[in-house]
Amino acid sequence: MTEMNISRAQSHAPLWPSLAALVLATGYLIALLAAEEQTLIIGLLAAAVVVVVAANYLGVSDAVSRSFAEHEDAFSFCAIAAAFAVAAYFHDNHFVLLLVVTVILYIVATLGLNVQFGYSGVLNFAGASFFGIGAYTSAVLNAHTAVPTLLVVLIGGVCAAVIGSLLLLPVLRTRGHYAALVTIAFALLFKTFLEVNDVLGGPQGLQVGGMNILGWSFNDNLSIGSIDLSFYLNYFLVSMLLLIGAFVLVRRLERSWIGLNLDALRLDETAAGCFGLNIARWKIVSFTLGNLLIGMAGALFGMVGSFIAPNNYTFADSLILVSILLLGGIGNLWGVVVATIIVVIVPEKLQTIQEYRFLIYATLVIAVLLFRPDGLLPRPVRRYFPGARS
């Protein structure tokens, strides 16, 4: 009965506008990933900006977002299918598949950061360090133990969460900027520690053994009949599983009393405390859960890249994770997906701007904060069971 009341308030939007947008975006992404010539890539990027601005201006994006809001579950399945379509198209292309896997694992890490920063407001400027903890865990475990590699991914996350708990005391005792400084200090310490510590390879880094499930070695190329497949497809499958799991988990978290608790303590600690909220407990839950996701993504990413070094986990890399979150729209999971695709793929394809990468990120973040402070896709008001009908 109530569900009917809720849905009656909305006008019934059909599924097709959001689906059409998804098909268009997927086709565009394939074209962009396949493009080699710099002028073509610049043209494609410019075209995307024009199309998005025009869609906004003509009200098309309103129709798309209404359709999306009402059919989010159906849309999610289509988005998964779209990811598989992209992977299938580039089935023998190592470079593109590695890029796709990178995007997926960065999304997982940023989802973790979103739980911390977006929901409970605990700033974490050491995201790359926790990512690195996961990666180093898998390097060490794969080299010296026979722990099943799938379990290694989980252990990588647990290690990040446990080491993160060292930071809990200073993070809980400080607020706002000061808590952020604690995490910045940790990021700097972490990199220095790795560089001077020869056990973990020092500045030269470590090899990471590939993934292996019951004799199925992920680092061997496959073939189906006469079609050759890149070994990165293995990693694509596992990464997608991790992403789907992480996305469902964070989504459910947001649409529960826990998500409400985290929002309440971010927005007004005093008021939340006056209504019984145990501030420390919920900060710990969000910080630990976030680091778990970041660490799991890092552990898998270490195996994908097969080589890690301290320079991959600098403070600057942590800032990239934060800028993805700001660009996408803090607290909006789909915003994270869109922003990660932009931030990871564009500099990789646009070789001419590679060196200016950080300059461009910085400009982008400032522009977003000035002109669209809620990000590309602002977070909508929480609905616990959106679009549900009894």
Binding site: W257, A264, F275, G276, V381, R382
Partner: protein, 269 residues
């Protein structure tokens, strides 16, 4: 018009009692060995000039500030220096002088923040057993609608809109709903009419009397500068000045007290 309900039963059993309650901020004594008794089921007006310690009293009672001295008893249990969380669980809830709603969150979310102690906070329940969660959500959704229906039926339709879109009077209503949803025993209202027009104040006053009618065993302490409101809705008034109680009694006798007039208007030279 709804008249103030005078409770003749159990007037003198105290629900909250402060003895010698003191709170200092450096050299400033905000509460100066205050003895104050709140009787069960009454509406008590707490009045006094600016800086007389009314809000400090609320903040000490609800655990935001620790007392520098004295004791607080709530329902015969010693709660001196208890945390805000503990006071909330004991059955005390409040509104704030300057609205402290979570503006980007919906009406429903804001009211649910006040229902914290009655919501299942388990990780497994929230993340994994979604159908059990849905049942609890449904129950609370209906309860929230029913509460909004009392205060302002038009707000029911806006239950999933951000509070930021509401005018001041509706925000106050949401704040009162947030404080009421967990069915507290004692409700502390800190200047509910602040920042509102005369008409809005009158509307809000009706709301409070309405709550009083619906929930017979709710005790209310209200801090207010709007004397018309105090006169109409309170059973008893306590006047504070410089953190001390200078008068105690029905509004008419308190208002006639020369000490009170002096506190508000100053002494003639």
């Amino acid at each position: 018009m709804i008249e103030a309900v005078t409770t003749t039963t159990a007037v003198h059993s105290p629900i909250l009692e402060a003895r010698g309650l003191t709170r200092q901020f450096g050299g400033v004594v905000a509460l100066d060995s205050l003895d104050l008794q709140v009787n069960a089921n009454e509406i008590l007006g707490l009045i006094g000039p600016n800086g007389s310690g009314k809000t400090t009293f609320f903040n000490v009672i609800t655990g935001i500030y620790q007392p520098s001295g004295g004791t607080v008893t709530f329902e015969n249990a010693d709660v001196t220096g208890a945390s805000p969380q503990k006071m909330y669980h004991a059955g005390v809830s409040r509104t704030f002088q300057r609205s402290r709603l979570s503006l980007p969150l919906s009406l429903f979310d804001n009211i649910m923040i006040g229902n914290h102690k009655r919501l299942n906070q388990g990780l497994w329940f929230n993340l994994m057993s979604r159908s059990a969660f849905k049942d609890e959500f449904e129950k609370n959704y209906q309860a929230t609608r029913a509460l909004l229906e009392i205060f302002s039926p038009p707000l029911v339709k806006r239950i999933f809109e951000p509070v930021a879109t509401l005018p001041m009077i509706d925000r106050r209503r949401i704040e009162i709903c947030r404080a009421l949803i967990s069915e507290p025993r004692l409700l502390l209202l800190d200047e509910p009419s602040a920042g509102m027009t005369h008409d809005e104040t009158a509307e809000l006053m009706n709301d409070i009397l309405l709550v009083r009618e619906q929930k017979k065993n709710l005790t209310i302490v209200i801090v207010e500068h709007e004397m018309g409101m105090i006169e109409r809705i309170t059973n008893r008034c306590v006047v504070l000045n410089f953190g001390r109680k200078i008068a105690d009694g029905p509004y008419r006798s308190v208002a006639a007290d020369p000490l009170v007039q002096e506190a508000y208007l100053g002494t003639s030279v």
